[in-house]
C-alpha cells in the first residue's frame, strides 16, 4: 500500500514536470497566465472554503493572509534568497535545485507567517459570530494592507519590484494539489466531522464534547497558511507586488468563488475558481461593459442559485457514474 | 349567540415544512360566535394550522375561506385587515416598546380613531393590570402580563376571529384561570375564537366544540362536553 502510494506520487510529479515543460512552449502566453491564475485562485478558494464553508465562519479578510504570505516570501527571496543561490548551488550541484529549495522555503515561511496571523485573527473569532466576525476580518485585511503600504523595505506605495520570477506551472499545480489533498483529507478525517458540527450547530457540538474554539482557530490557521502560499506564488509569478492587489475586493472575489461553488464543496470551489477566473476574460469582448456584466451575472446567479452551483455536493467521477447507474435502473 | 353560518371554513388543507408533511389534508369549520379548540400533542400540527390561517405559512393545497372570501394566498397583513388576528405562541410582544405602543401597533391597520379608543378601553377593562403598566417597557412585564398584552394587542385590530396559540403556556395555575376567564368574556362580547391548547382540560371546559389533531390529521370532532367525557380523549389528553 505504502509502496503503491509512493509510485503514484512519483508518477504525478513526473506528469507535472512534463506539463511544466511542454505547456509553456505550446500555449500562448496570455492563456498561460490565465492558467497560472486559475491555479492560484483554486488554492485561495479551497482554503477559504475550509473557513467559510466547512466551519461556517465568515471571513472576508483572505486577501490579507495572501498579502502577508506574498510579501514575506518575496522579502525573503529578494533580500536573502538571491544571494544564497551561488553558495547553495555549490552544495546541491544544480542551480535549479538551489532555486527550488529557496523558493519552497520562502513560500513556507510566507505561509507560516500568514498562519500566525490566522491564529491572531482566529482568537477574536471565539467571541464574534456571523456579521461581526465578517467585519473584524475585513478590518484586519485592510489594516494589513495599510501597514504594508507604510513599510519602505517592501516598496511601500511604489510597490515591491524585481522579485525573482521563481513561480512556474509546476509549483502552482504542485501546491494546488497539496492544498486540495490536505484539506480534503482534513474534512474526511474525524477532525472533519468536528468542523462540520461547528457549522451545523455550535452549541450541540460543544455539548458533544467537541472543542469548538479549537476547531475554529484551526480552520483559520490552515486556511491562512495556504492563502499565504498562494500569495507567494502570485508575487513570484508577477515579479511585482502592490498593495492594490490585496484590497478587500480581492477577498470578495475569493468569497464569490466559494459561495457560488457551494459552501462546503471542494470540487465546487475548484470549478467556481476556474469559471470566475475565465469569466472576466471572456467578458473582454463586451469591453466597457465588462465589469457591469460581471456584477450582473453575479447578482443573477445569487438570485437563481442561492445555494451555489453545487450546493454541498462533491462532484466526482463517481457522481457521474451514479447518474448513469440511476438512469439504467430507471430504464429497467 | 352562535349563528348557523360558518365564519371560517378549512377544506383539505395540506401544509409542508420543507420536506415534512405537517398537515395532511385537514378540514374543519368555525361558526360565528363559537369558541373552537384544537387539542393535540406537541408536533400534532396545532400551531401550523394557526400560522397557516394567519398567512405566515403557505398551504400546498386546500382552501381557507373566511366569510365568503378565499384567504389562503393572502399576505399576513391583508389577513389581519380582513379581521383575523393572532396572539402567537410565546407571546412575541415587542420588548423595547412600551405597553401602550404595543397595543397601538395592534391597531396598526385601523384608521377610526374613536373605535381604537373604545377598544383600548375595552382591553383595559378586560386586563386592568395592563393599564397600570401602560408606560412600562413590555420586556419588563411578567409572563402573565405579557400574555395579557399579547391578547390585548390582538384584540386591538377589532377582529372577527381571534386565534390564540397556547395562551396558558408557562403560566401559574391561578393566572391560567384568569386568562381563560378573559377568553370567555371576549367571546361573550361577540368575538369568535379559535383556541389552540395543550391544556386540553381547560380548553374543553370553555369551548363549544373541539377537534383532536394527531400527526397532521383530525382524528376526532365533537361538542366539547362530549370530548371531555370521551374515554379516548380522557386517556390521551386529560391524564386518565
Amino acid at each position: 500500500m505504502q509502496f503503491k502510494k509512493i509510485i503514484f506520487i512519483i508518477l504525478v510529479l513526473g506528469f507535472l514536470l512534463l506539463v511544466n515543460y511542454y505547456v509553456p512552449r505550446r500555449m500562448n502566453p496570455y492563456l498561460f497566465q490565465i492558467l497560472i491564475l486559475i491555479g492560484i485562485n483554486i488554492i485561495l478558494a479551497v482554503s477559504l472554503n475550509l473557513i467559510n464553508g466547512f466551519t461556517g465562519q465568515f471571513s472576508i479578510g483572505h486577501a490579507g493572509f495572501m498579502a502577508i504570505g506574498g510579501y514575506t516570501s518575496a522579502f525573503f527571496t529578494f533580500y536573502f534568497g538571491r544571494n544564497l543561490v551561488p553558495s547553495l548551488t555549490s552544495i546541491l550541484l544544480f542551480p535549479w535545485l538551489a532555486k527550488s529549495v529557496i523558493f519552497v522555503s520562502a513560500l513556507i515561511l510566507g505561509g507560516t507567517l500568514a498562519a500566525l496571523a490566522g491564529l491572531i485573527v482566529g482568537i477574536p473569532s471565539l467571541r464574534l459570530k456571523g456579521d461581526y466576525l465578517a467585519i473584524a476580518t475585513l478590518g484586519f485585511g485592510e489594516i494589513i494592507r495599510v501597514l504594508i503600504l507604510n513599510i519602505d523595505a517592501v516598496g511601500g506605495a511604489r510597490g515591491f519590484a524585481d522579485i525573482p520570477g521563481y513561480t512556474n506551472l509546476f509549483w502552482v499545480l504542485f501546491f494546488m494539489l497539496v492544498t486540495v489533498v490536505v484539506i480534503r483529507n482534513l474534512i474526511n478525517s474525524t477532525h472533519g466531522r468536528a468542523f462540520l458540527s461547528v457549522r451545523e450547530d455550535e452549541v450541540a457540538a460543544e455539548a458533544m464534547g467537541i472543542n469548538t474554539t479549537y476547531y475554529k482557530v484551526y480552520a483559520f490557521v490552515i486556511g491562512a497558511f495556504f492563502a499565504g502560499i498562494a500569495g507567494g506564488l502570485f508575487g513570484h509569478y508577477l515579479m511585482y507586488l502592490h498593495t492594490n492587489s490585496f484590497t478587500f475586493m480581492r477577498s470578495i472575489e475569493i468569497i464569490i468563488m466559494v459561495v457560488l461553488g457551494g459552501m462546503g464543496s471542494i470540487t465546487g470551489s475548484i470549478l467556481a475558481a476556474i469559471i470566475f477566473t475565465i469569466l472576466p476574460e471572456f467578458l473582454r469582448v463586451v469591453k466597457d461593459y465588462r465589469m457591469v456584466m460581471y456584477s450582473l451575472i453575479l447578482i443573477i446567479l445569487m438570485l437563481t442559485r442561492p445555494q451555489g452551483i453545487f450546493g454541498l455536493k462533491e462532484f466526482s467521477l463517481l457522481t457521474i457514474r451514479n447518474i448513469f447507474v440511476r438512469k439504467e435502473q430507471v430504464a429497467k | 349567540m352562535i349563528e348557523n353560518s360558518n365564519l371560517l371554513e378549512i377544506d383539505s388543507l395540506n401544509v409542508y415544512y420543507g420536506a415534512i408533511h405537517a398537515l395532511k389534508g385537514i378540514s374543519f369549520h368555525i361558526k360565528k360566535g363559537e369558541i373552537v379548540t384544537l387539542i393535540g400533542a406537541n408536533g400534532a400540527g396545532k400551531s401550523t394550522t394557526i400560522n397557516t390561517i394567519s398567512g405566515l405559512l403557505k398551504p400546498k393545497s386546500g382552501a381557507i375561506t373566511f366569510g365568503e372570501k378565499r384567504i389562503d394566498r393572502l399576505l399576513p397583513h391583508k389577513i389581519v385587515e380582513m379581521g383575523i388576528s393572532q396572539a402567537p405562541e410565546g407571546r412575541k410582544i415587542f420588548p423595547n416598546l412600551s405597553t401602550l405602543e404595543n397595543l397601538e401597533l395592534g391597531a396598526y391597520c385601523r384608521k377610526d380613531k374613536e373605535g381604537i379608543k373604545r377598544d383600548l378601553e375595552r382591553v383595559f377593562t378586560l386586563f386592568p393590570r395592563l393599564k397600570e403598566r401602560v408606560k412600562q417597557n413590555a420586556g419588563t412585564l411578567s409572563g402573565g402580563e405579557q400574555q395579557m398584552l399579547s391578547m390585548g394587542r390582538a384584540l386591538m385590530s377589532h377582529p372577527k376571529l381571534l386565534l390564540l396559540d397556547e395562551p396558558s403556556l408557562g403560566l401559574a395555575p391561578i393566572l391560567v384561570k384568569s386568562i381563560f376567564n378573559a377568553i370567555l368574556e371576549i367571546n361573550q362580547q361577540g368575538t369568535t375564537i379559535l383556541l389552540v391548547e395543550q391544556n386540553a382540560h381547560m380548553a374543553l371546559q370553555i369551548a363549544h366544540r373541539g377537534y383532536v389533531l394527531e400527526t397532521g390529521r383530525i382524528v376526532l370532532e365533537d361538542a366539547a362536553s362530549n370530548l371531555l367525557n370521551n374515554p379516548q380523549v380522557k386517556e390521551a389528553y386529560l391524564g386518565g
Binding site: 450582473l296 | 389581519v80 396598526y108 391597520c109
Partner: protein, 293 residues
C-alpha cells in the same frame, strides 16, 4: 476639531442607512456607499440642469438637496425590490454576496455613465467665514453641514419614535413575523427603510460635495466602509448609536491626520473597529436585544 465634527456628522448620516437596514433586514447593505456616490452625481446633474453653477441661490441649493435625495430614495427602493426582496428567505451570506454584487454594479455602471474621471461639483453655496476668533475659524459651509445633518438626524429620531410607521419599523426589526401579525406590511416597511436610508446618504453626499467638490464613481467605497464601522461602533441597529459612532469616527480621523500621518487615516477606522469588536461587540450604546442566532 470642527472639521472632525463635520466629517463625523457626514459619517453619521451614512451610518444611519446601514443601521436602519441592518435593523429591519439583518443585512449589511454593501451597496449603501455606492448609493451615496449616486447621490453626489444626482446632485451634480441637478445643479447643471437648474443652471445653478452660474448664480447660486438658497432655493436652488434646497432643490438640489431634494432632487438628489429623491433620486437616491427611488434607487434604494429599486435595489431592495429587485435584488434583496427575492432573497428574504435565503441564507444571509447569499444576501450579502448579492449586496456586494449590487455595489460592484453601481460602481461600474457609474464609471460607464458618469465617466471614470473625477468631476468637480460646482459651488452652490459660496464659502464665507462666519466666525473667526481665538483661532477658531468656522465657515458658513461647515455651519450648513452641521445644521443640515443635525436637522435630518433629529427628524429621523422623531419619525422613528413618534410616528406609526416608525413604530412599525421598530416592530419589524424586533420580529418580522410578529409584526406581520399586527397587520403591518413588512415589505412596505422594509422599502420605506431603504428609501429613507438612501435619501440620507444622498444628503450626506451633497454636504460632502460642498467642501470636497471632487466626485467620481468610486468615491463611495471608503466613506461607505467607514460609516459602516461607525454604525458598528455605536451598536448596529441603534440609531443614536450610529450618530455617536459617526462623530467619534470623524474626530478620530482628523486627529490621526493631524498628529500622525495621513497614510494612516484609513487604518484608524479599522483599528477602532477591531478594538470595539474585541471589547464591546454590541457597540457603545448596545445593540437591540431581539437578535436571534
Amino acid at each position: 476639531m470642527i472639521n472632525g465634527i463635520a466629517w463625523g456628522s457626514i459619517y453619521a448620516l451614512i451610518a444611519l442607512g446601514y443601521t436602519m437596514v441592518y435593523g429591519v433586514l439583518r443585512l449589511i447593505n454593501f451597496a449603501h456607499g455606492d448609493v451615496y456616490m449616486v447621490g453626489a452625481f444626482a446632485g451634480f446633474y441637478a445643479v447643471k440642469w437648474l443652471g445653478l453653477a452660474q448664480e447660486p441661490t438658497i432655493f436652488g441649493a434646497v432643490a438640489v438637496f431634494l432632487l438628489s435625495m429623491g433620486c437616491c430614495g427611488i434607487l434604494g427602493f429599486v435595489i431592495e425590490r429587485g435584488a434583496y426582496k427575492p432573497l428574504r428567505k435565503a441564507p444571509r451570506l447569499t444576501a450579502l454576496i448579492t449586496a456586494i454584487g449590487v455595489s460592484l454594479f453601481l460602481e461600474n455602471a457609474g464609471q460607464l455613465i458618469f465617466g471614470a474621471d473625477p468631476k468637480f461639483f460646482p459651488q452652490i453655496i459660496a464659502k464665507k467665514d462666519v466666525i473667526s476668533s481665538g483661532g477658531i475659524i468656522l465657515t458658513n459651509q461647515q455651519v450648513i453641514v452641521l445644521g443640515v445633518s443635525l436637522l435630518l438626524m433629529v427628524s429621523l429620531q422623531l419619525f422613528v419614535l413618534k410616528t406609526k410607521t416608525g413604530k412599525a419599523m421598530r416592530a419589524v426589526s424586533f420580529n418580522r413575523e410578529a409584526a406581520s401579525l399586527m397587520g403591518i406590511s413588512v415589505d412596505r416597511i422594509i422599502s420605506i427603510t431603504f428609501v429613507l436610508g438612501s435619501a440620507l446618504a444622498a444628503a450626506a453626499a451633497i454636504l460632502v460635495a460642498l467642501t470636497n467638490p471632487k466626485i467620481e464613481p468610486l468615491m463611495g467605497i471608503m466613506p461607505g466602509i467607514k460609516a459602516f464601522v461607525a454604525a458598528v461602533l455605536g451598536g448596529i441597529g441603534n440609531i443614536p448609536g450610529a450618530m455617536l459612532g459617526g462623530m467619534i469616527m470623524g474626530i478620530a480621523e482628523v486627529m490621526v491626520v493631524g498628529y500622525l500621518s495621513s497614510t494612516y487615516r484609513d487604518a484608524i477606522a479599522f483599528a477602532i473597529l477591531i478594538l470595539i469588536l474585541l471589547f464591546k461587540p454590541s457597540g457603545l450604546l448596545g445593540g437591540f436585544t431581539g437578535e436571534k442566532a
